[in-house]
């Protein structure tokens, strides 16, 4: 196991370098000039721009700029905002708590409702309940998150008055419920469908027949034998989904006016604030890689057939 972890960590290095390089290239090598964008439509002083670029190291060749960025990362430096001179890591740490809370709540909803509905549907595959759950989840997947966001906002906040239409205080869990419901809707639907498939497949496995032949109660056969097997692929999906939820926050945070990572990156994008964008995306890549590794290790715990050499 220890050796496997080391190997996986080593494998992550080229992936991390590759992914950050891609983002770096996407931000800086494509047309568009972040420094010039600072001036917007106003008249531009070329000398000032050149000086600023030299100061920021933006006059260096792209590979050199990237190298500097990587070296900075090694020391925990995610870059510095061009306009304000604020370290990007500051931007991340101040925006992170709200996003983490929102993501955690959305994750909870996904797990409880997604797995719950999936199990119900899987156990009654082909029945009325199953068909209804399938249809509802299909709707959740089809209706884009921003549409669901506005529908919920109008219905739950404006019409019913159960929640505030926007989040005033991101430390208040109660205010985050509505955005978390919106954020989780897509994941919830996927998790429910995956769980359903997995449960339905395992339900007809030979070992379930054995469980019945052993005279186990239906409840025990399902909760011990069926669940332990069915949830393996679901756990894998849930792990990777944490990353998706964080990235998906960009839309949800916009609708509900949450000052989180998503809003920060959106703002940075609109101003072409390259350093912030690259810094935040780098952070998300890190989260993704760490979560993927953890899921792989968890997989080995859940499924004894997997052995890591």
């Amino acid at each position: 196991m220890g050796r496997y972890v080391v190997r996986r960590l080593l494998q992550m290095i080229p992936v991390f370098i590759g992914a950050t390089l891609l983002v770096f290239l996407m931000m800086y090598a494509l047309p568009g000039d972040p420094v010039r964008a600072l001036w917007g439509e106003r008249s531009v002083d070329e000398a000032q721009i050149a000086a600023m670029k030299a100061d920021l190291g933006l006059d260096l060749p792209l590979w050199h700029q990237y190298l500097n960025y990587l070296l900075g990362l090694l020391q925990g430096d995610f870059g510095t905002q061009i306009a304000s001179g604020r370290p990007v890591i500051d931007v991340i740490t101040s925006a992170l708590p709200a996003t983490l809370r929102l993501t955690a709540l959305a994750f909870l909803i996904t797990v409880v409702l997604g797995v719950g509905l999936g199990v119900i549907a899987g156990l009654r595959r082909g029945g009325k309940t199953d068909r209804m759950i399938l249809f509802v989840t299909l709707l959740f997947i089809s209706v884009p998150v921003f549409v669901i966001g506005y529908l919920y906002q109008v219905f739950f906040a404006h019409n019913l008055g159960w929640a505030r239409p926007t989040v005033q205080d991101p430390t208040a869990w109660s205010q985050l419920i509505l955005p978390a419901m919106v954020l989780s809707s897509l994941s919830l639907a996927y998790v429910a469908r995956l769980t359903r498939t997995s449960v339905a497949e395992n339900k007809r496995a030979d070992y379930m027949r054995t469980a019945r032949a052993k005279g186990l109660t239906g409840r025990r056969a399902v909760s011990v034998h069926l669940m332990r097997n069915s949830l393996i692929p679901v756990v894998t999906f849930l792990g990777v989904d944490i990353g998706n939820l964080m990235a998906g926050a960009i839309v949800t945070e916009g609708i509900f006016n949450v000052n989180g990572i998503g809003s920060a990156v959106y703002r940075a994008l609109s101003y072409r604030e390259g350093a912030t964008v690259v810094g935040i995306v780098t952070f998300m890549i890190l989260v993704y890689l760490v979560v993927t590794l953890l899921v792989d290790l968890l997989y080995a715990v859940l499924d004894p057939r997997i052995r890591y050499a």
């Binding site: 030979d206 070992y207 186990l216 004894p304 057939r305």
Partner: protein, 376 residues
């Protein structure tokens, strides 16, 4: 549904020892007192008696009649081999006895399954569950897929004691080790926490046997217990099973398609074809002189050393579709003896008579021309 009348009627000779004269060929004389004392019914009642069992499967192509009036019985300490190709209904019958039929699509359309005289089909699900695994246990063919891949074998064995006996976790684990030792798994104590995939095929099947034996049931149904194993391992596993059966004086229903497996261990054989029993006989007599063309065909299709160089016999055609069974005798499209009568009139299970016209104990054949088959 319309051909309901085809079902065997009550006056047919039954493929049970009870009605056509008991076949007292129990392989072991050692009757365990405690077991027989438990029996609520009198000594003449067979341990298990299946009467006119019918099982149907609703499929998209129509109703598949997998079991069409099967009768058999097993006594304590006796081994009944149920022989047939896949689709003959032998496993479905077993699942119906265990109460683990997949419903839907399957359902029991009629008949009785009497265990110690009590019809299991009339019991509540709770009562049936209490019998399953405890009094009647089953061994499946493919131990790898039949054992739960993510639970240790110790857990799966111990579960029997925890569920049926309310044993503690630790106690259950101890009993699991005992069981593994009993089926001669080396280093049982060290291996009790291992998972099924860490054992060899033969060892896994031993674990399945241990699981079935856990609560010392009265009856074990073994569904092709050795089919998935290497030939050398097959013999060992079969021996172990037979030995344990003698030791506990259990009834054993051995389901197989392999005539070779049957010969050494079974007392009696019931041959199934298309959901019916076509011949039943004590094992030696069946081998010596089959009374049904299907059995005869099966025996002749076994390669034999003294027939070396000759062409191997093969039964013509394919087993019938269970959604559209042939009229009359289900075997008639493949039968060399088939006549006009075979296509219209379904043969009941005739008692097989010896030269002096006296019924041979425990023998029956569902063929109009059993005499010709027997002597031809």
């Amino acid at each position: 549904m319309s051909d309901r009348t085809e079902r065997p009627t009550a006056d047919e000779p039954n493929a049970t020892t009870g009605t056509t004269g008991p076949v007292e060929t129990t392989s072991s004389g050692a009757v365990r007192i405690d077991k027989s004392a438990e029996a609520p019914a009198d000594r003449d009642t067979p341990l298990l008696e299946v009467r006119d069992l019918q099982v149907e499967f609703r499929t998209r192509e129509g109703v598949a009649r997998a079991v069409n009036g099967v009768n058999y019985s097993v006594n304590a300490g006796e081994t009944l081999a149920v022989l047939g190709e896949s689709g003959s209904g032998k496993s479905v019958t077993a699942q119906a006895i265990m109460g683990i039929l997949d419903t839907p699509p399957g359902h029991i359309a009629g008949g009785e399954i009497r265990f110690r005289g009590e019809d299991l089909l009339t019991l509540s699900e709770d009562k049936r569950r209490a019998i399953r695994g405890d009094r009647i246990a089953m061994i499946f063919q493919d131990a790898l897929s039949s054992l739960n891949p993510v639970l240790s074998v110790g857990y799966q064995l111990g579960e029997m004691f925890r569920v049926h006996r309310g044993a503690s976790r630790r106690e259950a684990r101890e009993r699991a080790v005992d069981l593994m030792e009993r089926v001669r798994i080396p280093a049982a104590r060290e291996r009790v926490n291992d998972y099924p995939h860490q054992f060899s095929g033969g060892m896994r099947q031993r674990i399945m046997i241990a699981m079935a034996l856990a609560l010392e049931p009265d009856l074990i149904i073994a569904d092709e217990p050795t089919t998935a194993l290497d030939v050398t391992v097959q013999a060992q596993v079969m021996e172990l099973l037979a030995e344990l059966q003698r030791e506990f004086h259990m009834g054993l229903i051995l389901i197989t398609h392999d005539l070779g497996v049957v010969a050494d261990v079974a007392d009696r054989i019931a041959v199934m074809y298309a959901g019916r029993i076509v011949e039943t006989a004590p094992v030696k007599e069946l081998y010596a002189a089959p009374a049904h063309p299907y059995t005869k065909g099966l025996l002749e299709s076994i390669p034999r050393l003294d027939h070396k160089g000759k062409e191997l016999y093969a039964i013509q055609g394919l087993p019938p579709s269970l959604t559209a069974l042939p009229s009359g005798c289900s075997f008639h499209p493949r039968c060399p003896l088939s006549t006009e009568r075979s296509t219209t009139e379904r043969p009941p299970l005739h008692p097989v008579l010896d030269a002096s016209e006296a019924p041979v104990a425990g023998r029956g054949s569902a063929c109009h021309y059993w005499k010709e088959t027997l002597h031809g």
